[in-house]
Symmetry: C2
Subunit: 239 residues, 2 copies
Amino acid sequence: MPAVGKVFLVGAGPGARDLITVRGARLLGEADVVLYDALVTPEMLELCAQAVLIPVGKRAGQRSAAQEHINAQLVDCARQYARVVRLKGGDPMLFGRADEELTALEAAGIDVEVVPGITTAVAAAAAARQPLTKRGVARSVAFFTSSTAPGEDDLAAIPSTDTLVQYMGGREAIATAQRLLAQGRRPETPVLVLENVSRPDERIARITLAQLALGLDTPHGPVLVMLGEAMAARAQQPT
Amino acid sequence: MPAVGKVFLVGAGPGARDLITVRGARLLGEADVVLYDALVTPEMLELCAQAVLIPVGKRAGQRSAAQEHINAQLVDCARQYARVVRLKGGDPMLFGRADEELTALEAAGIDVEVVPGITTAVAAAAAARQPLTKRGVARSVAFFTSSTAPGEDDLAAIPSTDTLVQYMGGREAIATAQRLLAQGRRPETPVLVLENVSRPDERIARITLAQLALGLDTPHGPVLVMLGEAMAARAQQPT
């Protein structure tokens, strides 16, 4: 056992066991210990052939002390095990608090490698067969989250791209829709709302911006909201 | 052999053979025919155990008739083979002309499934160990391309997100930098320029927005430019 192990920040992808990368799957099989998020599915953990499994899940709303605890756990694990995997839902570098974990590991002199994952937005686009960009219609897409409460006047926080993808976009997406309408976006702008992408309980709903502004009937599970003219259904597209 | 086969639009990821998804790798192994882009690497094609391999690469600048030819080839292949894979660099739903291929296949009554891939931006973030979002600094990121020539006055085309990622961003990124400076962005805004992400000849350069506006020393290969305050190097970050 080496004095200090190596840590791999690995993206698990959206949930389905076979939507992790080949490299990520190999690292899970070889890992001595895997620290995993609440968003990682049980079937994904079956790929960990020999690892000690440590849940470090946080759900939105818990205080940030939890992140400091995870940072400390990562450093501790790297001092005990040769191959440490930190498995994160989606991609580690998008909305994954990777900066804090990288900073803590680097300060402790621990070697880190990042393995990308399928971020929910592209998995959602695949599931809905709805490209995020479209020639002549959409050549830019933004991925964003909102920490503002509905009703707050924060128009500047909505990106100016052709396609908008709001992560963790339940109540927050309703506020976004209200602001976009106030900014003059077409009420008929097509919207896709996706839950539990790539999982057995996946749900995909097609609505309009005006409908989104009135509320969402999808309170459970991680919700992703995609909107813009590129979200229009094709003439012969299967639902 | 069925009357009509099924087509899988599969994301190859950034190039490294093990950065395709497990599902994508399995489909390549099972495919009867694989139509692949110019951006797909030879080592990726080694995963095609039995398939007829058809290059359908287009490079930027070729006329769009090439896309119509690819659409027709896909329909023809689905009438000849049971399992057809259309293998695209990165992710099929981001800057991949997927809308045109899906429309053509659906019009011909052919079943299509999309398998997401690692888009270059997240592979680049992983390679540089540089998260695209960062708590308190960047909660939005845009992926975009520019079809405008340098010097054109098209300020509206630059998204308003915290982090900007310009795909195919060689000369175009220089124009973007000039426009951002004109809009008042800090000249010291950190910029990462990445070439051939995940491949043996990968190159990563750290510059500033002011330096980018003066030009790029990276004329070859697909160039990705990432910029914004979240691109600042950490104190103990390895280069």
